[in-house]
Amino acid sequence: MQIELGHYLSLSAIVFGIGAVGFLVRRNVLVQLMSIELMLNSVNLMLVAFNRYMPDNHAGQLFAFFVIAIAAAEAAVGLAIVISMFRLRKTVHSDRADTLRH
């Protein structure tokens, strides 16, 4: 079987779907952040795969590079918020962060 661009794209779609389900269904904030990382990673894979089949420039790999940097910043800020929330609520359950609802 010849591996084509389509195989990479469908793999990326599957991983993105798994990440989206994880973000929607899980209620542990840490696992939700990991699901966001899964989604960002799948988009990275798609960008690099497109760039492999259009190798005139490195636009796709550049975008993937920037996405990696943004993901690192997002993880740092997100985990800081998790620590802050744990200090206030003594839990990492995202349903418990409901102060604004009442």
Binding site: E37, N51, Y53, L79
Partner: protein, 215 residues
């Protein structure tokens, strides 16, 4: 692509999907973090297959070396979380969310599967070409592209990372007991000073009115 490449793709894709499922399904956060690590390593292998050598190395350094370690540190700080009681409220919406996402993902994956692009041969560096050889996805070609086409975003990213680090420290640091006590002490001192000022003004006003009475 060679047969070895196809086998590597199959292996990496299988590991990537299984470990992504593990990240989402596994109950304990530390196991989810380890599963995420396996996913990142598998993706790094896929990047190597796609001639993105530098990005594969960066993926290992930044994700496996920094992000997953950060997750593990936070899990370590928070400690073994109290097992949450299973929430029955919202089971219907959860099931609906899973079903809809599975259907949408399956449609997307099956419709993307037959996408065909001509496999453009990327020539490897010849033995005599030496250091000037710009290979696709290698350090030389990629950084030329990065510093010529993407210099402004690159610098902006550095500013963003600095801001994110400062913000993360400011959010996560909190205030120690001494700092809370010090700010309380300062507030008391200010209130005391204001009260003394008010008393002095009152005394002055009384004195003035007393003098007025004499005159």
């Amino acid at each position: 692509m060679t047969a070895g490449g196809e086998a590597l793709f199959a292996f990496c894709a299988l590991v990537a999907v299984l470990s992504a499922l593990g990240t989402v399904i596994v109950h304990s956060p530390i196991r989810a973090a380890m599963s995420l690590l396996a996913h990142i390593i598998a993706l790094s292998g896929l990047f190597l297959l796609l001639h993105a050598q530098l990005l594969a190395a960066l993926q290992m350094l930044v994700y496996a070396g920094a992000v997953v370690v950060l997750f593990v540190f936070v899990i370590m700080m928070i400690g073994p979380s109290v097992p949450e009681p299973p929430v029955l409220r919202g089971m219907v919406t959860k099931t609906a969310a899973i079903a809809i996402m599975v259907v949408l993902t399956a449609i997307l994956a099956f419709s993307l599967m037959p996408v065909h692009m001509p496999d453009i041969a990327l020539g490897p560096c010849l033995p005599g070409e030496g250091a000037e050889c710009d290979q696709f996805g290698g350090v030389g070609a990629f950084s030329q592209s990065l510093f010529l086409d993407g210099l402004v975003p690159f610098e902006l990213i550095s500013v963003l990372l600095t801001v994110a680090i400062v913000g993360a420290i400011a959010v996560a640091r909190g205030r120690s007991r001494e700092e809370v006590a010090a700010s309380q002490h300062k507030r008391d001192a200010q209130a005391k000073a204001a009260a003394e000022q008010g008393a002095r003004e009152q005394a002055m006003a009384a004195e003035v009115s007393a003098h007025g009475g004499h005159g």
